[in-house]
Amino acid sequence: MGALYKKLWRTIGKTKGQFIAVAAVVTMGIAVYIGMTTAYFNLNESKDQFYREHNFADYYFHVVKAPQQVTKQIEAIPGVTGVTGRIQKDVTLVNEHNKRATARLTSYTLPMEQEINSLQLLTGRFFAAEGAAARPGEQHTRTGDIEILVDPQYAAANDLDFNDIVTIVAEGKTIPLTMVGTATGPEFIYLMKDAATLLPDPTSFGIITVSRERAQQLLNLSGQVNQVLVTLAPGTDEEKVAQQVKSILEPYGNLAAYPRKQQLSNAMLEGELDGLRAAARFMPAIFLGIAAAIQFVILRRMVRAQRLQIGVMKAIGYNSRQVILHYTSYSVLVALCGAGLGTLLGLALAAIMSQAYAMYFNLPATIGAVNNQAILYGFLLSLGVSILAGLTACRSITAISPAEAMRPEPPKGGGKTLVENLSWLWHRLDTAWKMSIRSASRNRGRFAITIVGVVFAVGMLVVSLFTIDAVDYMVESHFHQNQRYDYLVRFAAPVKENAILNITRLEGIQKSEPLMEIPAKIKFNGHSEDDAITGMSPQATLKRLFDHRQQPAQVPEEGLLINQRTANKLGAKVGDMVEVETLLGIGPARHSPVKIVGINMQLVGGGSFVSLEQANRMLQERQLASGVMLKVDPAFAAQIEEDLEEMTGVSSISSRQKDLDNFNQNMDAMIYSISILVFFALLLGFAIVYNSAVISFSERQRELASLRVLGFSVKEVSGILLKENLLQSVLGVALGLPFGYLMAKGYMNAVSTDLFTLPVTIYPTTYIYAALGGFFFILVAHLLGVRGVRQLNLVEVLKNKD
């Protein structure tokens, strides 16, 4: 078979542009597949391993406070394999320069091994329980100090080190804590304060862990816990056990109960994993599909052009199988090159992605394994697709009888094209257009495949650029439309409205509007959903609300503006009566019936709204506020911020500007991944149009040379090819734009979670850029594909048969 292999190599050498283009598409497909699959596999494995080794809880119960012995009762429930009672509470952190941040103070009992959601020590050592002295050889802190561990991202963001002091405000007292190390746990992988937060911000939110005894002292909860975590035996009916636990905890004031999948960090992580898995299937499918189509076109053309050679091979005694094998080897080589390069690139991509994930997710041991299975599948996938394309393209070889092959291929059937039936249009076209249209309709298969390729490439451009629109839309609607305030100040405990006066009197404050935030359960038809209800004045201007049609919505004097997601889950609609149970940590739970008068939709987080007065009625209180929104004169912003920091009753100050800055900082990684996507899309489009141009050029060399002999200029001849190219490209671009919208919708569906949805908003400029991108790759591909026009050797081309 030696001579046949030499022929194969020479063929590849002659068509190296096409070979490289199609191999590059396979390379991208395999790289994306291996990169994403490996990143998915590693992230998922790291998560599972971390969860397993640290007894990640199956169910969470929040109560006002309960005696710590209550865990004994819960342990007795069948199906429960472990129970941990602990204290977790958000306290105010006072940084250097009096800056506020929120710390989620969480208690643990040593030894750590038995604990549910146990900690993984990263640096330093575990905190000592009360009275326990540091063991010999360990670094000592000052005697009597309260030792804590801090999450690594907070420590890094605030330059904290061993023995540094962290100051918190708990129960109205300022307390210094001594940091002895950093640690993370399975519930702290993705650190966001709550679902209403856009992104983690380690400068304003952190985890402080401390021994249970210390936590009880700090928060005046001696002998008490406020959270119960349970692990369950596999196959246990979660909801049944949860009901039993809730009835045990009933006397202690149930605040919230939720399963693992609703735990914020886990939900965010799973959301990311779902998106990654969806992309890991979707993206390679596009690339490999297009690569298969290109190979099909190349090989079918090659088989046609080499009909005579195939005839000769058959005449000498090669059988169809050998000849098919020879031509299919071309695509096998494409597959092997693509898979080989794709694997290398994919592993690099996986490393970059893992690095990015390490930045966002607090996983102590990120598995950086090379996923051999993914590589194997990558090769099989690439080979399978290529062989299939090769065999399909070459199946006509079987039908070629050696004698028939000795005759030149009969001219393709003429016949009128569709456009020719539109005679008014047809007569207005010049000859070049007529040739182009006839040629396109003669090669319908290739024409269609090229269009599909362009559609996908332009669609991918739209999706890549859509991400920027989506973020822009989110920033616009979240930071500019919804939040009109400059600062949102929250108090450690609700205060009377008139107590806000000392804030509103500060110089430079232009407007202030109080609000009352109440964690609550909303119940309807036997279903119950946790939600946050915010009370604010119907005349409030510093926070704007929108309904599900993105029309402005107003807080009603009477009745509930319900969060769209909550309404969907409950199956409740406007006009229904729901029951609201308040879950404020202070005071008893209150139940009140409220009528739904409207729907409120927010991009990030949940939230239902009532008037401030109704919120107070729900609590059976008057004129209480938990926070205040401020609009300030920019000239006084710094001074106001400083003054607010000094007020002890203030638990947190969120600054719109700071949130926006934090958000923009996180966009760098996004720009990076968008650039990669855009590059891939351009390359994809280029590869398919280039191939089409090369083939169309080589098929028609004789025809084009004849035109040159007749007196056409090089430019005019290229023009005919360009028209043919444009014909399919314009159609591809036109179809690609709406297709991109559909792809964006599909992608959004795949990645949207309970906590986070984006409407698919694509700006007109995005379509323009995508279309320009499309014409760019089309033009480049065309110019490279037909650069041979200039070198057309008129005499040679007309003399030779092929």
Partner: protein
Amino acid sequence: MTNNILMRLNGVTRTYHMGEVTVNALGETSLDIYQGEIVVILGPSGSGKSTLLNIMGGMDLPTAGDVFFDNDNLGLANDNQLTRYRRNEIGFVFQFYNLIPDLTARENVELAADLVDEPLSVTEVLSDVGLADRMDHFPSQMSGGEQQRVSIARAAVKNPRLLLCDEPTGALDYQTGILILALLVKINRARGSTVVIVTHNTPIGDMAHRVIRMRDGLIAEIRENASPLPPERIEW
């Protein structure tokens, strides 16, 4: 020359359907080919000579009739059997040489040599046709005569029992044509291969043991040639 029959065609016909037109390329034809002879089939274009050659070469199947080669009926052969027949028994020489443009002269010959168990030496065969110093040239770097010599070498290297030549001199000038014919005679003598040459060039018939004239898809005349001329003495 012995009188053993190598191939027997019995009532062979071939009809083509080209769209709505039916073409009777070959009418009822019966013919024996003997081992070791040189047969020249003469006739104008469209007389059915190429169709006859294609059927003899297992490149095409008859519409009716039997084609026996060594007691095997090619008329009933399937694709695999035809391929094996072409591979092991037949060498083809084409009017337009039909070399693989991406392969050198040597590689074109190797292409055929690779197919059989006991091929002749590729270098020797190429030397025999006078291309010892052109072996590593590509078809595009060779003259027509040289290309046809490669084509003959490619046919001969399998050491086939039957060498079928379709207008082997059709694209060549007189001198070169004579050289090619001489090569075919040389192979016939040295290896005992049967050589069938299809041509419209009547004088070439003088070198044959038998001359078959065809007209309108039928054999018009079979003439035995008691003393064939060496190609060098043929003129046209």
